[in-house]
Symmetry: C2
Subunit: 183 residues, 2 copies
């Protein structure tokens, strides 16, 4: 059966999850799919486009918070699940950061985040800025934790990051933002 774009993206996500960005190469991906490297370029314009698709796929899995909560709570919950989903995937911050710059509102989760910021009563002129601030905090925290993990694996002097502590640190930062937003 012929290859499909969906299949290419799904296998790329799988490769990222299992081995990280360093092993997500067009040649490796082609091998995994049992085709020649050139075949991929019929389904995808280039690697950059593929990575944007991968980011969208990662974000598509994030559950949007149920309605009925106060917006501050929903926003915090969404930010936390965003972070939780991304820490599991090596180099997720790099991949999502790229996609976010290219198309900030491309995924449901990110649009929902912007909407919740709006609902907290932030003035219209600051809406996007605060949303960006939250996204930066998520991506920065994820990148930081993952990089500390890599550094610890390379150097036995360093202690590996404690997942619970990292989660707590993230929530402290998030609380600062929310406090600053609601006067």
């Amino acid at each position: 059966m012929a290859l499909s774009r969906e299949q290419v993206v799904a296998t790329a996500v799988d490769l990222l999850r299992r081995y990280g960005l360093g092993d997500l190469t067009m040649r490796r991906l082609a091998r995994e799919l049992g085709v020649a490297p050139g075949a991929l370029y019929w389904h995808v314009a280039n690697k950059q486009e593929l990575l944007v698709e991968v980011a969208d796929a990662l974000l598509a899995e994030i559950a949007v918070p149920p309605p009925g909560q106060p917006p501050e709570e929903a926003l915090a919950g969404l930010a936390v699940s965003l972070r939780e989903a991304l820490v599991q995937v090596p180099d997720a911050a790099d991949v999502v950061g790229l996609a976010y710059a290219v198309e900030p509102g491309a995924t449901r989760a990110l649009r929902e985040l912007a909407r919740l910021v709006h609902d907290t009563g932030v003035p219209a002129s600051e809406r996007d800025k605060v949303a960006a601030l939250v996204v930066h905090h998520v991506l920065g925290s994820v990148a930081g934790e993952q990089n500390r993990g890599l550094a610890a694996r390379a150097d036995p002097e360093l202690s590996p990051p404690d997942p619970a502590g990292e989660a707590k640190a993230f929530e402290v930062g998030l609380a600062v933002i929310l406090r600053g937003v609601t006067r």
Copy 2:
């Protein structure tokens, strides 16, 4: 005259400034220095170590705010000059992000930032977290603006980022953080 580690790092910074991370390759760097690629490995263990040195060099140029100001003002000023210095350098956020994860307090500028956070009266347990939040905001904003610039150059549909607007957006986010910190 023999090559020196300082010379290698300085030329790497120059290459980054002029052409970005994509052209900062060990081979390109060697060519620029008029040596064989292997020669670099006598001065530097590997590319990753070189990039940490490059990040340190970029941060070393940032002026620490003069004493006498209220800490909130000094902190904001430092964050702004940090951002201003880094936006000028292509891919600076990636490079500095790496170094920050490996060694958060390695440079004067970043240690000063942590100190100023402390001076604003943030409880000791939250000091590092708030400092990290500010750094994430700086790096995220820089990466965002640079990526939007690249995207606009690739796709004429998109309008290029407005530097003044980006600076304003950054300051709005920063103000939110500072408001959240000072109750």
